[in-house]
């Protein structure tokens, strides 16, 4: 019985991580890619670690697994936030079908500070570059 549970958890975790990989390939822009990976990966790793803990069934392993999951939950969102923010004012364009962009014109370019009020001025316009680093020859 326990073996089956462990196997199912491992399988589910592996599937989630695989889907995160597929997501990276299929998603159209940076922010969507991060949505696909940062989180699916977290749950996937969590499930695999839980399966490992159940398999060994020792106090030391449980303690370590809980600590690892705790730190993943704590650090993964911060990495996602920093990457997303950096991508935004580096001018990485949002996908063309993006419905809404409330961040537009809210970053001050000089010091990267983010203001919440209405501040429509040239100073706040992050230039969006159309060419990305992966295309070999920009047109």
């Amino acid at each position: 019985m326990q073996e089956i549970v462990i196997m199912l958890l491992m399988l589910l975790g592996a599937i989630l991580i695989f889907l995160a990989g597929v997501g990276i390939l299929r998603m159209p822009d940076v922010f969507l890619r991060m949505s696909a990976t940062a989180k699916a990966g977290t749950l996937g790793v969590g499930l695999i670690l839980t399966a490992a803990a159940l398999h060994f069934n020792e106090f030391g392993i449980y303690a370590r697994v809980i600590a690892i999951i705790f730190f993943i939950l704590l650090t993964a969102p911060i990495a996602a936030h920093i990457i997303g923010r950096a991508a935004y004012f580096d001018g990485v364009p949002l996908w063309e079908d993006t419905v809404q962009d409330d961040l537009k014109k809210h970053y001050r370019i000089s010091d990267h500070a983010l203001y919440s009020g209405e501040l429509p001025s040239e100073e706040f316009l992050v230039p969006q570059k159309e060419a990305d680093d992966f295309s070999e020859e920009p047109e």
């Binding site: 997501g23 299929r26 940062a38 997303g84 809404q100 409330d102 961040l103 203001y115």
Partner: protein
Amino acid sequence: MNLFLVNLLLALAWVALTGSFQPVDLLFGFLLGYGVLWLAFRSTRSKRYFSRFPKVVEFVLFFVKELLLANLRMAVTILSPKMQLRPGVVAVPLDLKTRAGIVFLANMITLTPGTLSLDISVDRKMLYVHTVWLEDAEKFRSAIKQEYERRVKEIVEA
């Protein structure tokens, strides 16, 4: 928070006294300790711990539910031949005041698949969230505020 530490100590004492260092015993010791502390402190000023603890448990359950549902939805989206995407960046006004509360909320939002907190304005009044399935900005805002912010507020700033 002190009561939580006392509770942990009681759990450790229980484990030491029964001599079996199993996770189940630690959990049982924690629950026993919680009951003892409730009996001892329920009528004093430090009863905040007891009103907060069930809310933390409720929040964890709610969060696990959201995590599973959103992961499922993300899996369906990634695997479907024509991906159903309506991405957008939405500004969500914040009622939370403390730094700890905002960090907690932003982390929770990022951990739910499909939503990603991009940045917080310098005056800490707006949280900018990127979402994969944006149907209606107003609905999305109120969902974040009702579902997440209310719960975080009850735990962190109550």
